[in-house]
């Protein structure tokens, strides 16, 4: 029997993979993909809770699924803008390695 905890565990593991990717990788595009993984891990736990909390008719809580729909839409817009920023950065600096981009660091 699959429990709510199993879904939360898998979602947490996916979030941790994305988190580790953001912390460990130095390629800005891979960091961006890791951010997408973390967003999707959050979506998975939202949908799991939506299925878990049924209303008086025994239906899942569809408000959470509408929320996930909004998150996916905003994430798609975010990817488009983020990748445009990365392209502009690459044009200006000829690198996508975050250690080479340190103007704001010191």
């Amino acid at each position: 029997m699959v429990t709510l905890g199993d879904y939360l565990f898998v979602s947490g593991l996916l979030f941790t993979i994305g988190f580790a990717g953001v912390l460990l990788r130095r390629n800005i595009i891979i960091i961006f993909m890791s951010l997408e993984l973390m967003l999707n891990a959050a979506n998975l736990s939202l949908v799991a809770f939506s299925r878990f909390r049924t209303d008086s008719l025994g239906l899942p809580n569809y408000h959470a699924q509408v929320f996930v729909f909004f998150i996916i839409t905003v994430a798609a817009a975010e990817v488009a803008v983020g990748l445009a920023v990365i392209v502009a950065l690459y044009r200006a600096r000829r690198t996508i390695h975050v250690e080479d981009i340190s103007t704001l660091k010191y």
């Binding site: 891979i30 239906l59 699924q65 729909f69 909004f70 798609a76 488009a80 392209v87």
Partner: protein
Amino acid sequence: MSPVFFWLASALMLLFGAAVIMNRNPIASALSLVVSFLGLAALFMSLDAFFIGIIQVLVYAGAVMVLFLFIIMLLDLRAEERRKINLVAFAGGVAVAVIFFGQLCLVIGHLRQAKQSFPALPLNHPDDVRSVGLLLFGNYNLPFQIIAVLILVATIGVIVLSKRELR
């Protein structure tokens, strides 16, 4: 939902998710991300969220990944050469991630509801596309319109950012 299906989809999603951050080649990472998102869509469908699962495949595995691959090929990125990794920073990053996951497991372990399985749906329930659509165009009509404006703004922003001369 059968446990075999659940664990298969989870393993697929997690293995290819790990492949995303371990590959040196950005194209291999992007393709692993597609498979990872397909596994996630399967998990959504195992939770009876068919609409979200289909949207996941269309938007993420379709549109977003095409964008990623397009940018990787536009910038002509090759597998990055190995650089000297900063061992202290690497160990610190791994430690933070492991501690985070340990805490998460602790919280899930203390959650009483986490040990319950999902309640069954009534036999002839309305399909979820109908229910989500009713909410989306009823309760959440204003946020829906605002999202449309947001996407328009994002599109204009991307065009401005992509101009050759930024002023």
